[in-house]
Structure formats: structure tokens, C-alpha cells
């Protein structure tokens, strides 16, 4: 059940108490990544040239969660993203899937930034969104999957957080969420504004209609580059010395019949001994 939204920050709460109707503002952080299905490996090197960019699958779950909340409580969804120049095109995927507007930082060499640097920029972009109530992340980005960003940004913004969330309800001035851990689930009440990272597959992201795709280009977009933002980005704290596909020398023998299969299983998979 969803209790009428009362506003996550003091100003809003006061406005609501005075009878002013306030929108719930939900920010979603989405990262554009190469389509992993299309990466080819040559000499153990992943070839990224020409691989189209898209948003990570879990980030689409995060957006869907935000849109479902906005539809339930009367709200607005802002997508924030840090990426290279292709982001301006990629962002349309999110705007077509019912995000209302976007705030982006676009820089050429963005791939070289590490989590600490990106977190700083992302937090700054979120601050551009006035009076937000909830910030939603994915549990991990599709390519790096390190699961740091939501926690880092929560710390920079000084907000409470809950990760691995599989359901979200808004109850007045708090979010009631379910966090799914390996051995237990927790039902938590988190005061708004808050940062939530959603677990993969908590919902089925909507597929935008053609007319929504066409309208996406016209939704509000705010674009920054590093010079526009009043922040010092520190040096990268993490260095990568190599990133190669693992060496593999599998035999690649085709088995033509069940009896050949049985033979292989008996000789190669004799089991627990």
C-alpha cells in the first residue's frame, strides 16, 4: 500500500503541510556501456570499436522502479549519467522509457575515470536536481559491476542507503524497502531523501512505444562538461595494468551420438573421487 507522499526534505514537508501540492522527485543513475553480447575477442583483447552503447540491464531495472513509483505517487523522474559524447543519443532510451528529463556530464575520456572520480561527478550532477527525494542506482554497472557507486554517492551526499533492494514502497516521509541478502531478506524503513540500489531482475523494464521513442528527443536535457562543474576531481585511485580475456585451450570436439556422450562422461566426469 502506498501512503500519500509527504516529501522527503524539510522544505517539501513544510510545503505539503501548508497544503501545497509537491511532486516526488526521483533521480536515477544510469551508465552507458558497450553491448556485451557484441564484444569480440582477438588475441585475448576485447575489441570495443564499433560496438554500440546502451544502458546496463540493471540500470534499466532501476529506471523502471523509479517510473513505477512516480506513477503511483505523482512524481517526476530525472536520469543522471556520466559518459562520452554518444551519451546524448543513448539517453533517449531512458527518456523513451518514461523518464521525464536528464542531466548529463559529457567528456571524451570518460572511460579512464575510476569509481571515486565518477562518484564525485555524479554526486555533483545529482545536486543540480533541486529537492530530490530518492536516488536510485543499479546494484552494479553492466561492465564494471563493482557496486561501489551508490554507496560512494550516498556518502558524498550524506544520505542513508539500502542496497540489493527488490521492492520499494513510499510511506509518507520514508521508503519501505526489501533488501535481499544471501541468507535473509530485510524489510527496512529508510528516511527520505535516500539512496537505493536495486537488485537485478526486480521488475521487467518497459519497452517504449514508437511514439514515445519519437518524443524522447524533445524531453529536457541538461548537459555539463567538467569545466562547468565547480569541483576538483582527484587523480584516479585505481590503476589497471591489463584487461585480457582468459586464455582458453578447449578441445572443441563434436559428439555425434548419445553413446559417444556417455563414453566421454564416463571417462572425464567419473565424479566425486
Amino acid at each position: 500500500m502506498i501512503v500519500p507522499y509527504l516529501g522527503g526534505n524539510d522544505e517539501k514537508r513544510e510545503a505539503v503541510l501548508k497544503g501545497v501540492r509537491e511532486l516526488m522527485k526521483i533521480v536515477v543513475a544510469m551508465k552507458q556501456i558497450p553491448d556485451l553480447q557484441q564484444i569480440r575477442i582477438r588475441d585475448r583483447k576485447p575489441i570495443l570499436d564499433g560496438v554500440p552503447l546502451t544502458f546496463g540491464k540493471i540500470d534499466k531495472n532501476a529506471l523502471e522502479a523509479a517510473v513505477q513509483i512516480k506513477e503511483a505517487v505523482n512524481g517526476e523522474v530525472v536520469v543522471v549519467s556520466v559518459g562520452n559524447e554518444e551519451l546524448e543519443d543513448t539517453i533517449k532510451e531512458a527518456l523513451a522509457a518514461d523518464a521525464d528529463s536528464s542531466v548529463m556530464l559529457i567528456e571524451d575520456d570518460i572511460e579512464k575515470m575510476d569509481s571515486a572520480q565518477t562518484a564525485k561527478v555524479l554526486a555533483e550532477l545529482i545536486k543540480q536536481v533541486e529537492r530530490y527525494d530518492l536516488v536510485i542506482f543499479g546494484e552494479g554497472s553492466g561492465d564494471n559491476y563493482s557496486g561501489q557507486m551508490g554507496s560512494r554517492v550516498a556518502e558524498i551526499l550524506g544520505l542513508p542507503q539500502a542496497g540489493y533492494v527488490t521492492s520499494i514502497e513510499i510511506d509518507g516521509i520514508a521508503a519501505i524497502v526489501k533488501r535481499s541478502l544471501e541468507d535473509q531478506e530485510e524489510i527496512l524503513e529508510v528516511k527520505l531523501p535516500a539512496v537505493i540500489s536495486v537488485a537485478a531482475d526486480l521488475n521487467e523494464p518497459r519497452i517504449p512505444s514508437v511514439s514515445k521513442v519519437l518524443k524522447a528527443g524533445k524531453k529536457p536535457k541538461e548537459i555539463f562538461n567538467l569545466d562547468d562543474l565547480d569541483i576538483e576531481v582527484c587523480e584516479a585511485l585505481v590503476a589497471t595494468s591489463s584487461s585480457l580475456a582468459p586464455a582458453s585451450n578447449r578441445k572443441g570436439i563434436e559428439l555425434k551420438s548419445v553413446s559417444e556422450l556417455v563414453e566421454v562422461l564416463k571417462s572425464e566426469a567419473s565424479g566425486g573421487n
Binding site: 556485451l36 575477442i41 576485447p46 575510476d114 569509481s115 571515486a116 562518484a119 561492465d143 559491476y145 563493482s146 557496486g147 561501489q148 551508490g150 554507496s151 550516498a154 556518502e155 558524498i156 542513508p160 542507503q161 539500502a162 542496497g163 540489493y164 541478502l181 544471501e182 535473509q184 531478506e185 530485510e186 524489510i187 527496512l188 524503513e189 529508510v190 535516500a194 540500489s197 582527484c234 587523480e235 585511485l237 585505481v238 590503476a239 589497471t240 595494468s241 584487461s243 585480457l244 582468459p246 582458453s248 578447449r250 572443441g252 570436439i253 563434436e254 559428439l255 548419445v258 553413446s259 556422450l261 566421454v264 562422461l265 572425464e268 566426469a269 567419473s270 565424479g271 566425486g272 573421487n273
Partner: protein, 306 residues
């Protein structure tokens, strides 16, 4: 001087961290929060344990990170090892940000070269393995479960009580619902049978179980089989967001072999795949593959094996 601090709320993983910490050639201090039994077990493994007790909520990531930050300062440690289970991963980023530290999660291997700690972790969703190291003095390293063995009992442990300033929590726990946990762990399997979406119907499962039994193997699955179809618990998922397995042999049934799954069986000595699509990516990473419909093969294989 500088030292290493370990922390996991999961005692088995905390013991694994002690083993990892032993590689760093520095003094090791094990933190334990509100868990007397864990403190005792870590002490029995020879660790200098610092036990924190108080009104802390394990569910409040900020609060736990705050305790760790204060402890790291008081104990004078620069390197903090955490477990890369869900709690540990969530904690890593928050703590790293508090300390202005670099952070790596899901670490699969560690090599210490003098003062540099080189870590291996998956990149590009598992398509590549990255070797990374942290350049800042303060480092937060979250290590995947089972990468290291649990520390064995050893002498010379101690328990020190330790107090930190309490903070106010903005997260409150309304309810805790235990998940039913498996008694087996597919990561330990010598023979692993992987059920993918190509198994198609639950009616095929008894044959899969029978084949597993005759091979002395354990049954795991691809992610959608557990999360969408709910045929198995999530503990049976093989891959990036499930278990990384290195069995002697893996029999892969109807799995396409996308990178996020493939990382979970890459370590198998022998990989055998059955898939109706000759061009399924899993076939190109197999030692043996058979192009066939599982609806036909499973009953035949079951009979032939029994």
C-alpha cells in the same frame, strides 16, 4: 606502523579474510562487531581481535562504515579487507568514500609485489579479467567468497574490547525474513551439471537429477532458471552474480553461454555442452559439445547412465 584490518559479519568469510591478510606481510587486526562467537573463532585462528559492542544496526551501512573508519584510524591501519558478499560490497564503497580510499570489489586473486597489491577481477561483465591495483595509501579490498581458505586454528590470538562513538541511524529494520538455505554449495562440486533455459520444462528435471546422481555431481543453473522460473534457489546460480565454480567436469545443458554465465564455469577442467543451436557461444568454449534437442537426449542419457 601501517597494518591490515579485516572485517566481515559472516564468520566463515572473516576467517577467509585472515588468510588473505596473511599475504600482505603486515600486522593483521581483525574487527568484529557485536558477535562474541565470531570474536572467539577469530582469536582461535590466532588473530588479534578488536571486538566492538554497542547499539549498532548491521543493516545501516553508513553506521557500520563509520565504525570501521573510526577503528581504522585508532588502530592505524591503511589496508582494509572486506568480504565481497552483498553486505561487504555495499559497505566497501561507503567506507572507501569516507576514507578517500581506492576500492576494488569481487577480487578473485591477489598478488603482493613489495608494497603493491595486484588484484584480479572480472571486467566487461566477465569477458575479460582485469589486473588492478590501488594507488592511494588507504585501500579497501573486498574479496570474493571462497578465493581463500579459512584460517586454521593457531595460537597467540587475543581479544581486545574496543569502543567507538555511536551515530544516529536513519535506517530501521522492520522485519527479517530468513531465506531457506541450501545444504550443498555448488562451488564445491567436483562434477557440476548446469541447467539452462534450454531444458525448457520442469518435466525434464527428474532426468537431470538422475544423471547428476550417477555422475556424483551437483545441479546448478543459469540465472533466469532461478530468478524467472524459480526452479532452484538463487544459491544455485552459476556466474557473475552467482557462484564461480571450478569443478573437474561441467555438463552444461541448454545454456547459451553469455559472458555472465561463462565466468562461472571457465575454471572447469573439462567442459561438455549440449545445445540445439550449433552456434551457441557455449559450444565454442567447450571441450566436447553435442548439437541436439535435450527433450530427446535427457531420457536417453538417463537410461544409459543408470
Amino acid at each position: 606502523m601501517a597494518g591490515v584490518m579485516t572485517y566481515s559479519n559472516n564468520t566463515a568469510l572473516a576467517l577467509e579474510l585472515l588468510t588473505a591478510a596473511g599475504l600482505m606481510g603486515q600486522e593483521v587486526k581483525a574487527l568484529s562487531i557485536n558477535n562474541e562467537q565470531q570474536a572467539q573463532e577469530l582469536k582461535d585462528a590466532g588473530a588479534s581481535v578488536y571486538e566492538v559492542t554497542g547499539e549498532y544496526s548491521a543493516a545501516d551501512t553508513n553506521m557500520v562504515a563509520e565504525i570501521l573508519k573510526q577503528a581504522a584510524a585508532a588502530l592505524g591501519v591503511d589496508i582494509i579487507l572486506l568480504s565481497s558478499d552483498r553486505r561487504g560490497k555495499e559497505l566497501s564503497g561507503r567506507l572507501a568514500q569516507k576514507l578517500n580510499a581506492g576500492c576494488l570489489t569481487d577480487i578473485k586473486a591477489i598478488q603482493v609485489n613489495g608494497t603493491e597489491i595486484e588484484c584480479e577481477r572480472n571486467a566487461l561483465g566477465g569477458a575479460a579479467i582485469a589486473v588492478q591495483s590501488i594507488k592511494s595509501t588507504k585501500q579497501v579490498l573486498a574479496i570474493s567468497p571462497k578465493v581463500f581458505k579459512q584460517a586454521e586454528p593457531a595460537g597467540d590470538g587475543s581479544i581486545n574490547n574496543y569502543a567507538v562513538e555511536e551515530t544516529i541511524s536513519a535506517v530501521s529494520v522492520k522485519e527479517i525474513i530468513p531465506k531457506s538455505t541450501d545444504s550443498v554449495d555448488i562451488a564445491d562440486a567436483d562434477v557440476l551439471i548446469a541447467v539452462g533455459c534450454g531444458v525448457q520444462t520442469k518435466y525434464n528435471l527428474p532426468a537431470v537429477e538422475a544423471i547428476a546422481q550417477s555422475l556424483g555431481g551437483l545441479v546448478g543453473c543459469s540465472k533466469p532458471v532461478a530468478t524467472d522460473w524459480k526452479w532452484f534457489s538463487e544459491e544455485r546460480i552459476i556466474g557473475l552474480s552467482g557462484k564461480i565454480c571450478s569443478p573437474d567436469a561441467a555438463l552444461i545443458l541448454g545454456v547459451s553461454g553469455q559472458v555472465q554465465f561463462a565466468v562461472g564455469v571457465r575454471g572447469a577442467r573439462v567442459l561438455i555442452s549440449i545445445n540445439s543451436d550449433e552456434n551457441a557461444p557455449i559450444n565454442s568454449m567447450a571441450d566436447y559439445y553435442m548439437v541436439a534437442d535435450l527433450n530427446d537426449v535427457l531420457p536417453q542419457l538417463k537410461d544409459a547412465m543408470s
